[in-house]
Symmetry: C2
Subunit: 250 residues, 2 copies
DNA sequence: GCACTACTGCGTAAGGTATACACAGTTCTA
DNA sequence: TAGAACTGTGTATACCTTACGCAGTAGTGC
């Protein structure tokens, strides 16, 4: 990602500044035939249909009917395009909490909304992360999350820590279930049975002597009947929010 | 990742079965000049010095003094090599909890040890994840984690959920601090100041009207003085374990 | 000892990737 | 109207993974 020193001094790449609405376009040369958002949209729909692996500069350009290199007039490197794709995938966050809403219900809604965004765009999870959030929608999501914690007695640092804790959890959980779904697709099972096939694998490979705890877990057979697909998420979120609540009450 | 149907029927790729010690080697042809572990070691030390991006099949082969294609006699695809690299990076987990140890202290130690493993091998965080853990050391780490929860009243499903919750948190936290360190390296700040430079960026870009909560957080200035590098980890782990403890006590 | 078989390592090549650079054409500004 | 600035594009480079076929080697069965 090329960070060039430009007038605005944000240290952001030019394309990201453009996404923020800074950086008015120069009026000199020929009118651009493309827009940053048209490029990003094309890349996003490509990722949605064929996966992130299908997103190459040439493929995106071909879908837009332009040459590969013309994309580089809008984006300095592929990294930047990926960053913008991520921003587009998240979109505008849902409205913040109602004025007198309990912080916990607001925060819970926020977490579920974030999870839904990942589920809508699972390819986002395959984008290699590079830096703290700096794109408009990412920061907007952050804003909404922080707003939920507004009326707690947490310090600002703690609020941000709590936010990172929950958003990290959501991302992780989404990644896990996406991996599970992908593995299921590879082995041909349907998604519900992929936990089961993992359990079957572990049973074949773990010896009870060396892996007593794993063996015990497998013995109960709870792994084979995974229950609803939301269970893992519900469990983890409840634990984290319980832990936060203990802190807020203190 | 090519999954071929072989005798053992684990559904695992041949190289991973070899890592488990299944699959005795055939004695027919010429003696192999390489070993799986020599290949993995070379790849790991390459990643350690030059980053995961430097790990290409040709580069690894060159470091071993063999041709690129000979690696494919030991590994069916690069994915498999990456999986084995990850397994090697984690290594054998520390011993499990003492017999009468409190679950919480044992679990805490486990989380810190996992974090240390990530910090020793930050390139692991750049490996795209693909499936639930199925390599020897990964499962061994899982075993040790589950062992900590042995004497709690949690169901086996809940134990696994708790394990995934904590291990996901650790991974996420490690990824975050690695990203921060990488960003700092890009901008030339030292690592301690990278939070500060992120705050500076946000200040430039967020307008108080649209982003009141973010602005408030920035105003306090707590972001600029990040405290110790462990703070975020300590905070998150404490919250999660508090949440788990509430469940265990109930 | 000899054929057979299975295996190893390697050279070549195909098809993909990102992107540096030069160049022609276009549009606004002085 | 000249010049500057900007756009799109073609070409070229330097990578990448990996499919395939071939030559050589080490055991096995006769």
């Amino acid at each position: 990602m090329a960070i060039e020193e430009n007038g605005s001094g944000t240290g952001l790449p030019a394309s990201i500044e453009a996404a923020w609405g800074l950086r008015e376009r120069r009026t000199k040369g020929p009118k651009p035939g493309l827009t940053l958002s048209r490029i990003v949209d094309a890349a996003v729909s490509l990722a949605a249909t064929d996966g992130l692996g299908a997103v190459s500069m040439s493929r995106v350009a071909a879908d837009l009917g332009v040459s590969t290199m013309s994309l580089y007039r809008y984006v300095a490197a592929k990294d930047e395009l990926l960053l913008l794709m991520e921003d587009a995938a998240f979109g505008t966050p849902p409205p913040g909490p109602a004025p007198d809403e309990d912080w916990r219900t607001g925060f819970t809604d926020w977490a579920w909304a974030l999870r839904a965004a990942y589920h809508r765009n699972p390819w986002v999870l395959r984008i290699p992360t590079s830096a703290p959030p700096s794109t408009p929608n990412s920061v907007a999501w952050m804003e909404r999350g922080l707003a939920c914690l507004r009326d707690t007695n947490l310090g600002e640092g703690a609020k941000i820590s709590a936010l990172m804790l929950v958003s990290g959890f959501v991302r992780n959980e989404a990644r896990l279930s996406a991996d599970l779904a992908a593995a299921a697709l590879r082995t041909g099972d349907d998604t519900g049975q992929s936990m089961e096939s993992w359990a079957r694998l572990l049973r074949k490979v773990t010896d009870p002597e060396r892996f007593p705890a794993v063996t015990a877990a497998l013995a109960v057979g709870e792994l084979d009947t995974p229950g609803g697909p939301d269970d893992e998420f519900v469990f983890g979120l409840a634990r984290i929010l319980d832990g936060l609540e203990a802190l807020v009450r203190a």
